[in-house]
Symmetry: C2
Subunit: 152 residues, 2 copies
DNA sequence: ACGGATCATTGAAAAAGTCAACGATTGTTT
DNA sequence: AAACAATCGTTGACTTTTTCAATGATCCGT
């Protein structure tokens, strides 16, 4: 058997004009990435979204659930579920908002930070796999472009 | 009322480390993009996915449903629904595979091509809106990086 | 203090995704 | 050529995700 390559072969259909469609490219890269990420996070009982929530809970930024919903492009009710799950497992807890007593601030527990550190390591390896075709410079470039597209 | 700006303000949470997470950036850009795209395509009774199928049907590449499923990261059964819908509306039709009589080739009708041309115009304007923060060069660069990440 | 708006939460309804099974057809093995 | 496993599109069941309206508590402007 010849040299076993891990390359993804270019599909015949990529030749179509739509192969330049940003929407489609984003959808595809997002789809394959989510698959890998969720697989990597499964070891820690997390998924892409719960990991995002946990990360922000660990960030020291003291996000409210509303901020999480906006930032993660989720419905507020979805955030409730995610936080419920993480809270039941003792990884985060809800604290009362400081200026606004309606809002709940999500903060990490010590256990939450422990899990988060481990999970992040796994995820970063995963990300590197997904972007293996890019050089380090291109990798940085891609992030910068995505951020600029989002927030100018 | 002062100068009405269309800028998106940078969310407080973007400062978190996760603001560099490729997975999250892709998810966000994809989410906001899909919203815009679907809104733009609604005028033609299309959504992002049915538009993709229609585009490939119009491409002359004569894709099979299996190829569509693989290329669009969909389950084969989802392709059935999409093609059913487009076929009922007379925009595409199923033709028998040439080498393989199990496979069905999806080709566009004249009406399908008519609608597709119109819809594409709307979509391109939409894409430009979404990537307004990028220069033309960065726009090209982003596409190139996404394609390279996907197919090397 | 009043009225309208926003927060987290709930629950229901709609949409999307996943998966196993099927007939028809193909390619492969014997 | 006969038998076998594999693949294609399709169907239907099932689960998950998304969407949305309603609610109590709280905030803000008047």
């Amino acid at each position: 058997m010849g040299p076993q390559s891990t390359e993804v072969e270019i599909p015949r259909l990529a030749a179509a004009k739509i192969g330049n469609d940003v929407g489609l490219l984003l959808a595809k890269l997002h789809a394959t990435g989510s698959l890998l990420n969720n697989k990597a996070l499964a070891d820690y009982g997390l998924r892409e979204r719960s990991f995002s929530v946990l990360t922000l809970a660990c960030s020291g930024l003291e996000p409210t659930q509303r901020e999480l919903a906006d930032f993660l492009s989720l419905d507020p009710s979805q955030v409730v579920s995610l936080v419920d799950d993480l809270e039941h497992r003792g990884l985060v807890k809800r604290a009362q908002g400081k200026q606004d007593r309606r809002a709940k601030i999500i903060v990490s527990t010590a256990e939450g930070r422990r899990i988060h550190t481990k999970a992040r390591a796994g995820l970063e390896a995963c990300e590197q796999t997904q972007l293996a075709a890019l050089t380090d410079e291109e990798n940085v470039q891609l992030r910068a472009l995505l951020k600029k597209a989002l927030w100018g």
